[in-house]
Amino acid sequence: MDCLTAKNYLSGYYDDELTVEMATLVRAHIDECADCRQELAAFGRMGALVASAEVPVTSNRLWARILILLDDASRPNRAFTPVRTGIPFRVSAVVVAACLLLGLGIWRFGHWSGQGHNDHAEMAVNLGEMISGFASDPVAAIDRLSTHYQGVEVSLDAAESLLGYRPAIGNSLPTGYQLTSTRVLKMPCCTCSVSICTRQDGSTFVVFEHNEEQPSWFGDAPSISAKCGGRECSVVEMPGQLAVTWKSGMRQLTAIGVEGLEEVANLIAAVDSENSTG
């Protein structure tokens, strides 16, 4: 057997996958050929490298994420449909019966203006508690809300798979800001994303996003209309901070914990830029 032919069977020989007859022929050639012996030795060394190569472990939350999606898939009015075929996700009209933003609009620190549904009333209370606690400990505040509404921390890709759209804020934060994490929440009215963003000084604000137009975010809480970054915004004052909602294309966004209208304008400009190129 010549060297060229032997080399074609070298992997089969090394992996013990050849017939007895072919293995005998290859072995006879190897006994005479230093080059092929060297090649086999290299196979062994490389195989050891492959076998010992470390693979990152899966996220501890992976099964939890799968479980949420399995549970949701078995519900008649599913909230999550991971996009696997490239066909855009269509949120069930039943799921979008009311809106997170209407619930946020009722967050007058626990006051519900009379919608009458236990889940929505409870949501208003929870949102009010989140916002009232946000100034002192924003991460804890969002954690409590997230835990209550089966929030799952996901990548932007996974959020897109779950929601049918990619959170705009994820790819569009201005310089000096960082996306810390993205979560998907199963609110009573609908499913939304909430992105936790960090400034250079380590302080935090969050941005909720919906892909549906929403009525008034803040119910009858005192608010002002302002034009920021070319967008009409509704602004509510929080302790030392602002909560602002605006519409960008098909997206409704609400930022909580922003530090002023200039910051709002920067966020709006960044999101609009992303939406125009995305």
Binding site: K7, N8, Y9, L10, S11, G12, D15, E17, Q38, A41, A42, F43, R45, M46, G47, L49, V50, A51, S52, A53, E54, V55, P56, T58, S59, L62, W63, R65, I66, L67, L69, L70, A73, S74, P82, R84, G86, V154, S155, D157, A158, S161
Partner: protein, 198 residues
């Protein structure tokens, strides 16, 4: 209506891996219950397969997206569990879903994971320093096509036979040897270019 065909009462078992451990052992009853939505059985299947499925997916799509693609693979697996024919090997069937899912993902994103080899060669930190061999290997390994990385990993790290690799990768068994030849040759070239001494 889902129809489960029980061919014979047996446990679906694969060969041992290179470490001498049983690769997969999933009872038919667990598969049947999981197909009907039993969460405990589904979790059992997940915990049995996750290490190897994730590894295969990781070798195809890289670290950043491995978790997300693995998630989709398992959702797909559970959604299609009623289609599993019990005369087939369960782990192989699951791996095939993983490969299909990962390759579909790669086609969607249409981007390469690897760095250009020329850039690595010119990088003084790689050439002059004494790079950790494992790091050097990862760089070289990333240079291979995703399918070659997967096949080499299935063989060397997961100890699969040519017939299993063929079933998972969806290629004729007769071409597995030539694909491994190619993978080993290209890996060697990439390692040598980075200063690895054979």
């Amino acid at each position: 209506m889902k129809h489960l065909m029980i061919q014979r009462q047996r446990t679906t078992v694969c060969r041992q891996d290179v470490n001498g451990e049983d690769m997969v052992s999933v009872e038919n009853t667990a598969i049947e219950r999981a197909a009907q939505g039993d969460r405990e059985s589904q979790r059992h299947i997940y915990e049995t397969l996750i290490s190897r499925v994730h590894r295969t997916v990781y070798r195809l799509v890289g670290a950043t997206e491995a978790d997300d693609v693995t998630q989709d693979v398992f959702l797909d697996l559970f959604a299609n569990l009623h289609k599993f024919r019990f005369e087939a090997d369960f782990a192989t069937w699951a791996h095939r879903l993983a490969v299909n899912g990962a390759l579909q993902h790669l086609r969607r994103v249409r981007r390469k994971v690897a760095l250009p080899l020329e850039a690595i060669e010119r990088d003084p930190e790689v050439r002059q320093a004494d790079p950790d061999l494992k790091e050097l290997f990862e760089v070289a390994f990333s240079r291979l096509d995703a399918e070659l990385r997967m096949i080499l990993d299935l063989k060397e790290a997961q100890g699969m036979s040519y017939s299993q690799i063929a079933a998972i990768a969806g290629i004729p068994e007769g071409t597995v040897g030539s694909q491994l030849n190619r993978a080993r040759r290209e890996l060697k070239c990439a390692l040598l270019a980075l200063g690895w001494e054979v």
